[in-house]
């Protein structure tokens, strides 16, 4: 899970390997805050799969690649 200068850099880095999924850093930042925002809360309990899938769905990260199960 890496950060790149641009999609062209991703393609060159893949060097013909099957690509995964590429998103904007804006989406990544929003994803990180939704996913990790409660991680240090004293009341933290593990997210359910449904909760995590809802976070992905809410950011438009849908389809087979983003399906947790």
């Amino acid at each position: 899970m890496n950060l790149f200068r641009s999609e062209e850099h991703v393609e060159r880095w893949l060097a013909g390997r099957e690509p995964g999924a590429t998103t904007s850093v804006t989406t990544l930042c929003a994803l990180a805050h939704a996913w990790w925002g409660d991680r240090l809360s004293p009341e933290w309990v593990p997210h359910t799969g449904e909760q995590n899938q809802a976070i992905l769905d809410g950011l438009g990260l849908t389809g087979p690649f983003w399906a947790l199960r």
């Binding site: 899970m1 950060l3 641009s6 880095w13 998103t23 850093v25 805050h33 933290w44 199960r69």
Partner: protein, 147 residues
């Protein structure tokens, strides 16, 4: 994973944040008043529940996501301290978990050029960058270190 395990996890994370590095089982044991062996047992259950990740060879902490116990390509400064993150997602996750602004230092895996990103008010200072995730979500925990 029961309430005692969650308390052990909470103490482990709190110490990771305070120290700026991964705590040892002995250090966590002192914090929570448990023998080192009990900390390892609890960490094992938390590992099985994907609440942290242990080094399979040593039993030491490898990840307390988003924090990494070992140096990585993602260095994050926040709240006057610094940590390594496991990946790009986790690098933004450190500011998110601490609820503070931060600064990420890494390099483009393709060209090697340095990338410096500020996280301010939950936004990236450079919105031209892109994130690539190679492994499909359903397979992330097959090999979380590779993911």
């Amino acid at each position: 994973m029961d309430g005692r395990d969650l308390e052990l996890r909470r103490a482990t994370y709190a110490l990771f944040v305070r120290l700026g590095r991964a705590p040892s089982a002995a250090e966590v044991g002192v914090e929570v008043g448990l023998p080192e062996a009990d900390v390892h047992d609890g960490w094992g259950r938390l590992h099985d529940g994907h609440a942290l990740v242990l080094d399979p060879a040593t039993g030491a902490l490898r990840m307390a996501n988003p924090f990494s116990a070992v140096p990585t390509a993602y260095r994050v400064e926040a709240d006057g301290r610094s940590w390594y993150a496991n990946c790009a997602w986790d690098a933004f996750g450190i500011s998110a978990a601490l609820h503070v602004d931060g600064r990420i230092e890494t390099a483009c895996p393709d060209c090697g050029d340095p990338i410096l990103v500020e996280v301010r008010d939950e936004r990236s200072s450079d919105e031209s960058l892109v994130f690539h995730c190679l492994v499909p979500a359903a397979r992330w925990w097959e090999d979380i270190v590779f993911t």
